[in-house]
């Protein structure tokens, strides 16, 4: 295969404190362009920490990140603030809680994704270029938000709709990589599938590399093409879906259903 778009080498993440937590322990990973990867694991296994280490959002929680992370050949952990912003602008991040600004209109929330491409002064004045505005409308329609809702405040949307705005916001970045941290954990099963299908379609149509964190085994097996299993901050599985025995995988990752594992 080609060179990896993302290479994680000996990654260890520690949350300092009275009782420091080692959330990731010597993780190694290579992700290739166009892959659709699901990171599976129970709560607390380190899924969020992994994604948040890749774009260094984990530093907001004062996490200590050690090791090497190469995105598109650049060492993320060595990047300056300016370089980091450049790197982040190529990585779309989707949050479990959508993280939209409730008081801003849907359209503006989406346009936020283009901030790194818009002139600084223009962005502060809120005067986005026509081209970006049109892209935002198209992205929203594409993820299933009809045109007449684009002027509404985000607060008036349902959870599933807010997550669609979150995806549209990421699309405006023209990302090379999408990181989605439990994007459907707060949604009902039907909506969850609709949203997962959007990710799938983006990955298939545009070849955007996608890493999705999921804790639900059903969704994991339904959408994952390659599955990485995390447990206690270590990678215990990293295989294409075809090579995975579902029974033993579930037992290893989640423990048995009757709790004997």
């Amino acid at each position: 295969m080609a060179t990896p778009i993302l290479r994680v080498h000996n990654l260890t993440v520690i949350y300092p404190g009275v009782h420091p937590v080692k959330a990731l322990d010597n993780v190694n990973l290579e992700i290739y362009p166009g892959e659709f990867v699901v990171v599976a694991g129970v709560s607390g296994s380190g899924k969020s920490t992994l994604l948040r280490a890749i774009n260094r959002l984990a530093e907001n929680d004062h996490a200590r990140i050690e090791g090497e992370i190469y995105f598109d050949g650049i060492n993320v952990l060595k990047a300056s603030r300016r370089q980091l912003r450049e790197i982040r602008s190529h990585i779309g991040f989707i949050f479990q809680e959508y993280n939209v600004v409730e008081r801003l209109p849907v359209l503006t929330n989406t346009l936020v994704g283009s901030l790194a491409q818009v002139g600084f002064l223009r962005s502060l004045l809120g005067r986005f270029p026509k081209e970006q505005i049109e892209r935002a409308h198209r992205a929203l329609v594409r993820v299933g938000i009809p045109q007449h809702r684009h002027g509404d405040r985000a607060a008036r949307l349902s959870g599933g709709q807010k997550q669609r705005v979150g995806i549209a916001r990421a699309l405006l970045q023209r990302p090379k990589l999408i990181l989605a941290d439990e994007p459907v954990a707060s949604l009902d099963p039907i909506t969850a599938n609709v949203v997962m299908n959007i990710f799938k379609k983006i990955n298939e149509d545009e070849g955007i590399t996608t890493i999705v964190n999921l804790h639900d085994p059903v969704l994991t097996f339904k959408y994952g093409k390659r599955i990485i299993g995390l447990k206690g901050g270590r990678i215990i599985y990293d295989k294409p879906i075809s090579a995975i025995n579902r029974e033993t995988f579930e037992e290893d990752i989640y423990g048995t259903v009757d709790g004997e594992g």
Binding site: L57, G92, N99, R103, V112, F120, S123
Partner: protein
Amino acid sequence: MAQWTERARLSGEVWLRRFGFSLGLLLLLALYGWALRGVEFDLSSIFKYGGKFFELLGRMYPPDFSALPQLVRPLLQTIQMATLGTFLGALMALPLVVFGSQLVVRSALIYWPVRAFMNILRTIPDLLYAVLFVAAMGFGPAAGVGALSFFACAIIAKLTSESADNINPKPIEAVEAVGANKLQVIRYAVLPQLIPSFIDHVIYVFELNVRVSAVMGYVGAGGMGMQLTTAMEWRNYPQVLTIALLIFALVIIIDMIANRIRDAFVQGIKLHPVVRWLEWGILAGLIVWSFISLEVDLTRLRRGFGYFSNLVWAITTEPATEYLGLAIQRMVQSLQIALVGTTLSFLLSFPLGFLASRRYVGIPVALAVSMKQIPNIIRAFPELILAIFFIATFGPGPLPGVLAIAIHSIGMLGKFNAEIVEKIRKEPVEALQSSGASRLQVFRYAVLPQVLPEFLALFIYRFEINVRAASVLGIVGAGGIGSLINEAQSYRAWDIVGICLVVIIPTVMAIDFLSARIRKKLIEG
């Protein structure tokens, strides 16, 4: 045997508690005795000279409305000063709030100093700002605008940063994650969440500023207050009454308008774009008009800047330590004034609170409704004007300060007392009523226990506010540390003014801190 010792232990505990209670009571009595002496409180002189107060009022009546045309300009100036002061204050407050927020700047090296600065600004009372700015920029409205903008900035920043601590941090991460820079994060994730409460506080501060702006001319800072000084000096009492009434009317009208705007804003009424643009236009016009007619010029600003750097220089390099003792002594008197004034006010407003709420006491509706209006009317009379009246009655000294604070505070205490009484749970009341308790018993065992902690919390909060008032009323002659500032100011003794600031700022800060702690304890139980 075992039972006997148990009983002995119990009665020992009872005695201990009684002893503690008596000791506390004794200490409290001693505190009040000390404070009453400190403020030269003397009922006989109140009764003896109290008549003079009404005599004074009598000489004011009837008001001299022929003076009205002359008062139009000062009245407009008062509004202009309040508008411009609030506008500039809001402009200054916003960056303080943003850069004082942990959520926005994650470095304690930035947000701690900003927060400390905010807290210092907040401790300086309104009139003290006025005195400082008059000294800095000379007589006139420019000084008033300077003082009001700092006063406004302090309060807006304080209130809004409380809201800023409660904004949702998640959208901030989302905007950071797309590669936006700090200012873009502020523009798209922080400000949209902050603006509603910010505007609410700006409107509130505009109300406050109108009150302050109306009287601060008394120390030379422009507006109606200057007219008041002249009328007082010429003993033109009918004109004094006219001015007082005009200020009173202005405050009430502005409060009414502000409330309407706030309600419309809170309910988020959708306005037609034309109406919206019209409103912005009116607002912008008002600000520009104020700016032009107040003649705020650059040389004055430069002069003001020089004054403040001199002041800070004097404080840090050659503090007038020989006056420290005197300043502390006067500050203590200010605390005594605040304590006695607040207590008096509390005693007066206590029955008012119960009467204004007719739910449990059963008084005629009409009486209750009219009782409710009394606090609102009293609140609109600034302390300063009351202090001036009382000084004219009793002569300069702490007593007029006490009385001014006592009367003015009835406004707020009466209003909130009534609200507390309205809010009590009715189940305990009904339980007692159904057991055949008398009205007084119901009051003692079902009403009082419910309202007492909240009353105390309110008392302490008002004390906190009155400490600020008591530190500055001396500027017009009503005792406390303000009187020292007044003397120092007239001799241009900056170093003494400086030492007063050095005493006032930490004292007010400490009182604020303690008050917040105690109130939290009281309310949370």
